[in-house]
């Protein structure tokens, strides 16, 4: 601000952009390219969201991010009376058939945008629908660019949006990795997500250890399916949480890069530099936001965003201050975006790569996070007889992950309860709470969306060739029964004939079964 010239980086090697990338994956980090401000949102019908997408593109944006509603995320059609009533279009957009995906991307050239789809259990259906839209509009599959979250392992551990049991689900993920590697070189088939593990209650070290272990599990599964690590590793990316313990978070990000690079080179034989780089998205911690004095959440989000920036994230979502009360209003979402713009453009933290590198405390914390994560890897290797993948399966089966996360969540809650951990506005400094959450300024979703979507789905079912749909679903079942087949082509075929997401998931479930979690407290 006062015009003092600064270098892109300070300190001795290894520098940012050099193995093991502790200090960042690029030599000049944000000085060469600022993090991407990627705000996640979704609402209403596909047509509504399409309007929002076009607005983003008109304003020069090139990245589209899709949030789906709960029925879509769970592989249920909007007209599923047991599971979907009351949830259609509430937390995101409802996608039942290809017709909805066509509406979602109407008049948008899929060859020139990058699309992020946050979906896991039925991710293969969503990707098939996206490909079918491209096929129908004459866009080359190889030109498709984007990310599908598709991190099924953390669903059993934390987010709980699974459909099938773990092993067949991993077969689906590896089928998608194989398909995108061959046909869609610009597509990121898995975004390995610690965010939800943390939100469910884990510590920072558990988030780090579980997430990287899941990453290793995908690598082992893909290698077992015959893929060369350097053909897919550069398209794996990560998604971390940024919680309130500032230096712990920064140490976590730095340790993540170092561990990933080291393991990818030493254990998995990656040769390409790009296979070694842990690229990640960060979102501030929704769970840290308080319903009490909600405006002070803006300060929490700002500090968490700063930790993400100092930790070297590639993209960032900042949470809206009203998220402990309801889905964010437009104003709250705008304040959240402005918050990270202040971090990016006013604070000067983007001028120097890894500005905290070399701090005795930060380096110690980085080592400590690595040490704790390594204990988790050792435990999983033990459980899996030398295989992280098998260890993760075992940890899901025996309740290790959910148990560890629930223990940490309860410990945190007890500390808040007995006052050893201060949460401002909740167990300390509570005066000033006006109690005036009259709801006038909270977002409400109306029932219209559900009514519209039910009519839309009925019309699509009316207009399609049911016999062709049944044949295509039979082909999906056959492919599911044949471990040597790839599920992508028959599912693309089925969605192209307007089979619904629910029908395809039912066909897969008829072979794979459905996962039911053991209720453990």
């Amino acid at each position: 601000m006062s015009g003092v010239p600064v270098d892109p980086v300070y300190g001795d090697g290894p520098l940012p952009g050099e193995f093991p990338y502790t200090r960042g994956i690029y030599p000049e980090m944000y000085r060469s390219r600022l993090w991407t401000m990627r705000m996640f949102a979704g609402f209403g019908t596909a047509v509504d969201t399409n309007g929002r997408f076009k607005e983003i593109l008109r304003h020069g944006g090139t990245g589209l991010s899709t949030a789906f509603d709960m029925p879509t995320l769970m592989g249920r059609d909007s007209d599923d009376e047991v599971w979907s009533a009351g949830e259609v279009g509430r937390a995101g957009v409802a996608i039942d058939t290809l017709a909805d995906m066509e509406d979602l991307f109407a008049d948008i050239d899929l060859g020139s945008v990058s699309t992020s789809m946050t979906i896991n259990g039925p991710a293969i259906v969503a990707l098939a629908q996206y490909i079918a839209v491209a096929d129908k509009t004459g866009v080359d599959r190889a030109a498709l660019s984007g990310t599908i979250q598709n991190d099924i392992l953390k669903e059993y551990q934390a987010q709980k949006e699974y459909i099938f049991p773990p092993r067949p689900s991993m077969r689906i993920v590896t089928d998608m990795m194989r398909f995108t590697t061959a046909e869609m070189p610009r597509w990121h088939p898995v975004s390995i997500s610690g965010y939800h593990i943390r939100e469910a209650g884990s510590t920072a070290a558990q988030e780090l250890g579980f997430t990287l272990a899941n990453g290793f599990a995908y690598v082992e599964a893909a290698q077992a399916a015959g893929l060369d690590v350097d053909d897919f590793a550069a398209r794996l990316s990560f998604f971390f949480n940024s919680h309130s313990d500032f230096f712990e978070e920064i140490g976590k990000y730095r340790a993540a890069r170092r561990i990933w690079a080291t393991w990818m080179r030493q254990r998995y034989g990656a040769a390409s530099e790009r296979s070694l780089m842990c690229r990640f998205h960060t979102q501030t911690a929704g769970v840290s936001l308080t319903a009490q004095q909600p405006e002070i959440n803006i300060a929490r989000v700002a500090l968490q965003a700063l930790a993400g920036a100092l930790g070297g994230t590639q993209s960032l979502h900042t949470d809206a201050y009203d998220e402990a009360l309801a889905l964010p209003t437009e104003k709250a979402a705008r304040i959240a975006l402005r918050t990270q713009q202040i971090v990016a453009h006013e604070t000067g933290v983007a001028n120097v790569a890894d500005p905290l590198g070399g701090s005795a405390y930060v380096e110690w914390m980085t080592d400590e996070m690595e040490r704790r994560a390594t204990e988790i890897f050792d435990h999983l290797l033990d459980l899996g007889g030398g295989s992280i993948l098998e260890g993760v399966y075992e940890g899901i089966d025996n309740g290790y992950f959910v148990g560890q996360i629930a223990d940490s969540a309860y410990r945190f809650e007890r500390e808040v309860n007995d006052g050893t951990r201060i949460i401002v506005g909740v167990n300390a400094f509570t005066e000033g709470e006006d109690g005036d959450q009259d709801g006038a300024n909270l977002l409400r979703i109306e029932q219209d969306t559900e009514d519209f979507q039910l009519k839309r789905l009925a019309a699509v079912k009316q207009g399609r060739d049911d016999e062709a749909v049944n044949r295509s679903l039979e082909a999906v079942r056959h492919a599911a029964e044949d471990p040597g087949a790839n599920l992508m082509p028959p599912i693309i075929e089925a969605v192209s004939g307007y089979a619904t997401e629910g029908e395809i998931c039912d066909a897969l479930a008829s072979v794979f079964g459905r996962y039911v979690e053991q209720a453990i407290v």
Binding site: M70, P71, L73, M74, R76, V82, W83, S84, A85, G86, E87, R90, A91, Q159, K160, E161, E199, A200, G201, V287, T290, A291, Q292, A324, L325, A326, L327, I405, A406, A409, Y410, E413, R414, V416, N417, D418, I423, V426, N427, G435, Q437, D438, G439, A440, L442, I445, E517, A519, V521
Partner: protein, 150 residues
Amino acid sequence: MTDSPQAAVAGRTAPIRVVLAKLGLDGHDRGLKVVARMLRDAGMEVIYLGLRQTTDTVIAAVEQEDADVIGLSMHNAGHLALAPRIVQAVSDAGLDVPVVIGGIVPEADVSALKEMGISAVLHPGASAVAVGEAVREAVRGSLGDQPVHD
């Protein structure tokens, strides 16, 4: 951290039995698990059903387990649609069991929920004492302050 190991309500000696569940597709179970442990620490007997329950499975559990109170966790803005359904299901089953809701529920909806027959609503950040007291109070209310004879 608990106010008292005494989990029973005045006039009855058996510990309170509480069924905890989430209805529908919402998978946010952190709060429900924490509440389960809080109530256990407070000496109550917790029947934890967990995720993806329906009104039918909740009612069946209440009947089988002879539960005193139902605790439901909601985080996806479905509370106004789901509350009348569970209250109706309790009444259809001929049960006199109070329902407590916890989770992301705007303050403005609390009176509507109470009119629908929900006994208490707990918000994020509720202390273990507040959670235990709300459950005890709900049970006391449904007992009409009458002694229970088993």
